[in-house]
Symmetry: C2
Subunit: 259 residues, 2 copies
């Protein structure tokens, strides 16, 4: 039989654990591992596990070590879209060299009920944002008449720069597909740290297709979004990151690598 | 008389408060309010109080609203160096438009026992750093044969750009003075977010002099420093920040404003 002191002790332990995990899981703050200038220069091996990343967010995007595909994170599920177009659940022990996550909680909502391309969609969103100097997370759900995505194959050392890897990217086209496009809009002042402007990944409703979004066409989607109050950047502490010349990032190469 | 249940309850409350505040005060992480590109464009009014900033660090630098002087934060004390060269303790309700703090804990130590200028000092530090892609905090303590600092006068709206304000900065020269030079080294990839390279503020041992460091000469100082594992940037949520064109920051203007 459990006596009252044991019960009180158990209560103490429980009360102990709850608030700190709540603090750790603040909504609408960005956690980012490494910086885009490092990924651009070919730093494809990081030291953060997907298990550790899960503690920092349930929503976001990134890649895996060796640049092995595109990562899509939705509702706490972590998906890898390989260069063959396959979607895998990512084991907790997998490592990432670059990822951007948040505990997503929609603050605003916008419906699109006209035929729009990716550029028209982002132009329409731009008009509704309170400030383009804020960081925003977006979750765009609905049916797409067209989605064009890409993924990248796992690399071997010596690593090429990202702009050179994406010259041989796999491109996928989907028609009449339901799913979620998710990602971020970052302001211009973060240009060595993250991707200025919109950056979206896609995962289909059946979780069988996805990738880094290159274009889309839709006649009706729901856009949920949230301003992000803080961004925390974890600086990799070991590996190639230490000795790479990160002053060399070329904004034009970033645009090419993302398109 | 306090019975044992009350005692247990008090214990629960105590245990509750301790670990979360410890988590909040993690060592060697940077907290930054706003971004340097906003300060450069004349965003001199923020919404973070010094009281709130104290919860984020006990060491660092910044300025106050209206660009009213240079802020030096050492051992949990917050000092304002005015454009008249006076040093004031800053009340908790004062607001800042830009500040960079950490809970400083020295990880490495280096002694300088030769005559060096600021440029020679930073060149010497550069040689000992594990990676210039890391963020570092520095606390440089000792006797200086010469320190040249500046401060800036409180501005009135419409605000001029920082590079124009610093054309009329107050410059102070000190000889044979004991004190602490403290600040940070940021990598090139943060250039819209913070100041790439070294950024130091000075406070004398008697807490009567200080400012933004322009030059120095010393024959012996102790340098304590620590790699920073994470940086958290709080994005201002209101005010001029929302409507300022932050894409216009010119790296040459930043160099001029800091020299």
């Amino acid at each position: 039989m459990i006596n009252k002191y044991t019960r009180v002790s158990l209560l103490v332990v429980l009360l102990y654990l709850v608030p700190c995990s709540l603090i750790a899981q603040e909504k609408n703050n960005i956690f980012q591992y490494s910086v885009i200038s490092a990924l651009m220069q070919g730093n494809y091996d990081g030291n953060l596990t997907i298990g550790e990343l899960k503690e920092k967010g349930d929503f976001g995007l990134g890649t895996l070590n060796h640049l092995d595909g595109e990562v899509v994170i939705l509702d706490g599920e972590f998906f890898q879209v390989t260069s063959e177009g396959l979607v895998n659940r990512i084991p907790a022990e997998s490592l990432t060299p670059f990822a951007v996550v948040t505990f997503f909680k929609a603050v605003e909502r916008k419906e699109i009920n006209e035929t729009v391309s990716l550029n028209q969609l982002t132009a329409s969103i731009d008009k509704t944002l309170e400030s383009i100097n804020f960081i925003y997370a977006f979750k765009i759900t609905g049916k797409f008449s067209y989605v064009k995505t890409r993924s990248v194959p796992a690399q071997e050392k010596p690593y090429k720069k990202l702009v050179d890897v994406t010259k041989n990217q796999s491109v996928f086209e989907f028609k009449d597909i339901e799913g979620t496009i998710l990602g971020f809009r970052f302001p211009s002042y973060v240009d060595g740290v993250n991707v200025p402007g919109y950056h979206f990944h896609f995962i289909s409703a059946d979780k069988k297709s996805g990738g880094h979004v290159l274009d889309l066409m839709t006649t009706g989607v729901t856009i949920e979004y949230a301003k992000q109050d803080n961004i925390t950047i974890a600086i990799p502490g070991e590996g190639d990151f230490l000795n790479t010349d990160l002053s060399k990032m070329n904004p034009e190469e970033l645009k090419k690598a993302e398109k």
